[in-house]
């Protein structure tokens, strides 16, 4: 093949020369045209500048003339003024007012001068036609003015055009025009001053319509006098060092120059002229863009035309060149592909080979150092000959078929054992070669030794396999993404978890796409309705160094996702199916919730706490019930380890702690009772059952309950009271029984004493010495009889009459009985308030009241005292204090209240016992109150006493009220009440 390459060189070179010729001619034509057009454009530009400058020069000439005329007019006015003054000086009296008036008349005829005035020989402004705008200003003095000094020194009467300067009156720029005024003797009398106003020129020039041009007037000393448009910053400044005065006015009377662009200012043309016969310089400035505006406007059309012509030329050239290129490319391509082939073959392969029609190797070319060995081993042999039938490379059958069918093949790797016994691999590609008639001539191809590559690949493949197997054995889903978040690989567990996204789990898929696809399928319940946001979040997790989160999947499944960034970029994700764990957690939570709920419904408080080795208490659980019992919420209790130490009443705390300590030592459950303060301050009783058990590392775990024992305690107290009452009644009953028995005996024994003494007295005269002893025996026996009668009445258990008795009447009767017997120092009052009626024995009840009142009177003794007998009605509900065991219902209440000496608690307690008395022997039997008690009890009522020493005593009697019109006592309800209310009575 290489021998053809030489022949293509000549046509390519000649074509290239032809092409150069065409290019040269074409370029020459185009450059010529462009240069011509460029010249024409420059010419037009110069013409535009010339025109503008000429216009400006014309303008300056006319300004020059106008300025000259203006000054002339001003001068003549000044002269007129001066001559007026000089004429006046000839007169005897100088009439300043008249002169001033004359001046005003002169000035009125002109607009050029701002004002006309006279300065006297001392420099003071004598008068001025235009009034000073500021009357407060001191009198103006011009002694230091240049023109004043000049006129004083020089007797010339010419008009002097002064240096432009700011007016002393107004500060505006003025040009002073002055003339000397002489006295008739020729001496200096003063100066007439006319102020040429710079502003005058402004108004004039603006009428000229300067357009974009700027006009300036300078004094001969380069001070700017006027500028149009006005520029206060520049007016009054010196331009002596500016180019206008520095470079131009000195050399030429008139002319122009171009000032290049400076900063923001564009380039401009300055046209200047020295005024004729007067010391002024005129200048006009025209900005270049203004001058060239028209030229610039025409420029694009011009350029377009030029460009069009050039383009046409270029296209024509291009067409010519293209034909030559086509020819050349064919030749060059051929050359290049040959070279390319050679280069590729050499760089991509170690050697080239050729086989004949019988597939036997005919040629080896190459740079490999084993070429000789190859030649020796393979020349004259076919691939089939060389192949080791035991170690046929993969794809061998296909390869053989390709060769036999004369098809090209690529990158087939075969294995051979080299002469030194080393296994080597070569990768080869081949193309069939056919002759001019289509006959098969053999293959040409390239080959490379890829032993290192194959071995490395085998190694890598083995590693990959190992890794893949390792990943595959994981119970967790494994997924690997590269640094660009593209899927690399995953294990089958991962595919199992995300079965719906399996199609996307191919290398190269972007993580976000996998997420989006799954989210759109509804695979992530938490993403529904907010896919975009959810994906953003998931990507954020994916990008942080390491993250762990839980993700819900459909069907109630849960996955824990742990992602770790790899140092080389990329990330590994471990996806653990935690559905079971989650379920167990949920069940545990539910179970705890159930426990909590049960605990909350129990009346007891359930609690659990631990005490660690340091003795620190950790509350771990308190059921919600604690709020009812203790007034604290569970959270408050758990947060405060010392809460029980605070709320348990101090007198119980030590015992509580001791009990717990004992229980801990014995590791046995305990029960402890204590009183505590609720949060609201109420004191209540609690009973705790606590069970200790040994926890890990020396901790003691406690669990148990707290019961509200308040009611129980109260019930216990009530029971104790009832027991006391019962004991009391039993004692009274026992005494009564004994008394009954004794009474019988005594009565029998008394019979002879009473009767015999009585009989004997009948027979004995009063003056008989036996009469008195007999009487004493008889009286003593009678006393004993009365005593026994009382004992009997106490132990008598006849049911009292069951007629309804008006309590008020009973009380009134008792009062009537008492009034006769009580001493006057005792006041007795009745306070009756409709107590209704009770069933019973009126006489007995009367006796009761009399008895109580008599006792009260005794308690009052000789002091002033008051006994109140109060009668009213109350309703007894369950739990009314002092009501004891009485059934519910309406009761008549009788109270005997005295303010006597009162009783000690010991006395109060025993007051109803038979034979208990505080009175001296003979004063009382001690049976009175026990009889009272018996009567009240037999009426189904109850009597209680309250007393305080020194304050008095109150007896309270409660009697069950009967319904007013009830006549029969045999109603079942009444019966019931009776059996309930009178068990003690029956047994007496």
């Amino acid at each position: 093949m290489s021998q053809d390459s030489q022949t293509t060189r000549t046509p390519a070179t000649s074509l290239r020369r032809l092409r150069l010729g065409i290019l040269a001619i074409s370029a020459a034509v185009m450059i010529g045209h462009a240069a011509n057009e460029y010249g024409a454009m420059l010419e037009e530009k110069a013409e535009a500048v010339d025109g503008a400058v000429r216009n400006a020069e014309t303008l300056l000439i006319s300004l020059d003339e106008h300025l000259g005329r203006t000054l002339q007019a001003a001068e003549s006015m000044i002269r007129l003024g001066a001559s007026q003054i000089e004429a006046e000086l000839h007169e005897r009296e100088f009439d300043t007012a008249a002169i001033h008036k004359a001046f005003i008349d002169i000035h009125r005829g002109t607009s050029q001068l701002r004002g006309l005035g006279f300065i006297d020989a001392f420099g003071n402004l004598s008068f001025y036609t235009t009034p000073n705008p500021d009357p407060a200003q001191p009198r103006i003095n011009a002694k230091d003015r240049e023109y004043f000094t000049f006129h004083r020194a020089h007797p010339s009467s010419e008009v002097l055009i002064g240096r432009p300067s700011p007016s002393r009156a107004t500060g505006d720029m003025i040009v002073p025009l002055t003339r000397r005024v002489n006295h008739p003797d020729g001496s200096f009398a003063g100066v007439v001053l006319g102020a040429l106003e710079a502003a005058y020129f402004n108004s004039f020039y603006s009428r000229l319509g300067t357009g974009t041009r700027a006009l300036s007037i300078f004094g001969s000393d380069a001070i700017m006098l006027v500028r149009m448009p006005s520029d206060p910053k520049q007016v009054g400044t010196s331009f002596a060092h500016r180019p206008l005065f520095r470079d131009h006015i000195g050399q030429h009377e008139s002319g122009w120059y171009r000032r290049p662009a400076e900063g923001d200012e564009s380039a401009r043309y300055v046209v200047y002229r020295r005024a004729t016969g007067i010391p002024f310089v005129l200048a006009a400035t025209i900005e270049e863009p203004t001058i060239l505006a028209a030229w610039h406007e025409k420029l694009p059309a011009k350029l377009l035309t030029v460009a069009g012509v050039l383009l046409a030329l270029a296209m024509f050239t291009g067409l010519l060149l293209r034909t030559t290129y086509r020819q050349e490319r064919l030749a060059v391509d051929l050359q290049a592909s040959e070279a390319q082939f050679r280069d590729f073959a050499q760089s991509s392969s170690d050697w080239q080979w050729e086989t004949g029609p019988d597939h036997r190797f005919t040629r080896f070319v190459g740079k490999v150092d084993r070429l000789d060995e190859l030649k020796a081993a393979f020349l004259g042999k076919s691939r089939v000959d060389i192949a080791d039938p035991n170690q046929l490379p993969p794809g061998w059958q296909q390869h053989v078929q390709d060769i036999n069918a004369h098809r090209p093949f690529r990158d087939f790797i075969y294995r051979r054992v080299s002469s030194d016994g080393v296994i080597r691999y070569a990768k080869t590609s081949g193309t069939p070669v056919f002759g001019g008639n289509g006959e098969f001539l053999g293959y040409r191809g390239t080959a490379s030794d890829v032993t290192d590559v194959v071995l490395a690949e085998e190694h890598a493949s083995a590693s990959r396999k190992l890794l893949a197997n390792a990943i595959e054995t994981l119970h967790e889903g494994f997924v690997l993404f590269d640094a660009q978040d593209r899927f690399v690989r995953c294990n089958s567990k991962f595919r199992e978890i995300y079965a719906e996204s399996a199609d996307l789990l191919v290398p190269g898929t972007h993580y976000e796409n996998i997420l989006r696809h799954a989210a759109e399928l509804g695979q992530f319940p938490e993403s529904i309705g907010r896919t975009g946001k959810w994906i953003k979040q998931a990507m954020a997790y994916h990008h942080i160094m390491a993250s762990t989160r839980q993700r819900q999947l459909p069907g109630g499944r849960w996955v824990e996702v742990r992602e770790v960034k790899l140092a080389e970029g990329g990330s590994v994700g471990i996806h653990i199916d935690i559905t079971e764990t989650k379920l167990a957690q949920e069940q545990l939570r539910e179970s705890e919730e159930r426990l909590r709920s049960i605990a909350a419904n129990l009346t007891q408080v359930i609690l659990e706490f631990s005490v660690d080795r340091e003795g620190v208490i950790h509350q771990t659980f308190v059921s919600e019930r604690c709020q009812d019992l203790l007034g604290y919420t569970a959270d408050e209790i758990m947060a405060d380890p010392m809460i029980f130490a605070r709320i348990i009443e101090p007198e119980f705390l030590a015992a509580y702690c001791q009990t717990l300590a004992d229980a801990e030592r014995a590791m046995a459950p305990v029960e402890v009772e204590y009183r505590f303060r609720r949060r609201d301050g109420e004191k209540r009783w609690a009973r705790s059952m606590l069970r200790p058990r040994q926890g890990p590392d020396g901790t003691v775990l406690w669990d148990g309950t707290i019961n509200d024992a308040t009611e129980e305690k109260a019930a216990e107290g009530q029971r104790r009271e009832l027991e006391n009452q019962l004991r009391h009644l039993q004692r009274i009953e026992a005494v009564g029984t004994l008394a009954g028995g004794m009474a019988h005996e005594i009565n029998n024994k008394l019979v002879p004493i009473v009767t015999f003494s009585e009989l004997m007295l009948m027979k004995t005269a009063e003056d008989d010495p036996n009469h008195r002893p007999l009487q004493t025996i008889h009286d003593a026996a009678e006393r004993i009889r009365d005593l026994v009668a009382r004992i009997l009445s106490m132990s008598r258990s006849e049911t009292p009459g069951s007629t309804p008795i008006e309590i008020k009447t009973v009380a009134a009767n008792a009062i009537d009985l008492l009034r006769a017997t009580l001493r006057p120092n005792v006041r007795l009052s009745l306070e009756a308030d409709g107590a209704g009626s009770v069933r019973g024995d009126g006489a007995q009840l009367e006796q009761v009241l009399v008895n109580l009142c008599t006792n009260a009177a005794h308690a009052i003794g000789t002091n002033q005292g008051h006994i109140r007998l109060a009668v009213d009605e109350i309703e007894i509900d369950e739990g009314v204090a002092g009501a004891g065991h009485l059934p519910r219902g309406h009761y008549a209440r009788l109270r005997v209240i005295d303010n006597g000496c009162g009783m000690t608690p010991q006395t109060t307690q025993r007051v109803f016992e038979p034979f208990f008395t505080t009175k001296s022997v003979g004063e009382g039997t001690g049976l009175g109150l026990s009889i009272v008690h018996g009567i009240i009890v037999s009426h189904g009522g109850r009597i209680t006493v309250e007393s305080a020493v020194g304050e008095g005593t109150t007896f309270t009697i409660l009697l069950p009220r009967s319904v007013a019109n009830e006549s029969s006592p045999k109603e079942p309800a009444a019966n019931d009440d009776a059996t309930h209310a009178r068990p003690q009575t029956a047994s007496m």
Partner: protein, 124 residues
């Protein structure tokens, strides 16, 4: 002048009653219990009987009941020292069973004399 039978288990009481009756000029006979009382009643044929209620051997109530059967018009005075059965007073029971008077012990001689005067026929 009448015949009075006195039944009481207490001798001092019998003596006292005999003394009172004798003081009023009556003839008396005494018995220690109900049974003896009935025997004496048959033998003595009294015009009036004074009997205690609570006695050994034969109770006062029973005695009164028997005496009433023997002679329905017999005046009987029941005396009692205050004994009782349950809620019932002997004296009240005695009254119910036919005692013409009931007098609680200890009584005055005058009370007995008054009762005797009232219960015995004026002729006797």
């Amino acid at each position: 002048m009448a015949k009075i039978l006195i039944i009481d288990d207490e001798k001092p009481v019998r003596d006292a009653l005999e003394a009172i009756a004798a003081a009023a000029g009556h003839q008396t006979r005494a018995a220690g219990d109900g049974r003896q009382g009935l025997v004496q009643f048959a033998a003595f044929q009294p015009d009036l009987v004074i009997t205690d209620m609570l006695m050994p051997e034969k109770e006062g109530i029973e005695t009164i009941a028997d005496l009433r059967k023997l002679r329905p018009t017999l005046p009987i005075i029941a005396i009692s020292g205050g004994g009782r059965v349950g809620n019932l007073s002997f004296l009240k029971i005695a009254q119910r069973f036919g005692a013409n008077r009931t007098i609680a012990k200890p009584f005055s001689a005058q009370a007995i004399l008054t009762a005797l005067t009232e219960l015995l026929p004026a002729a006797a």
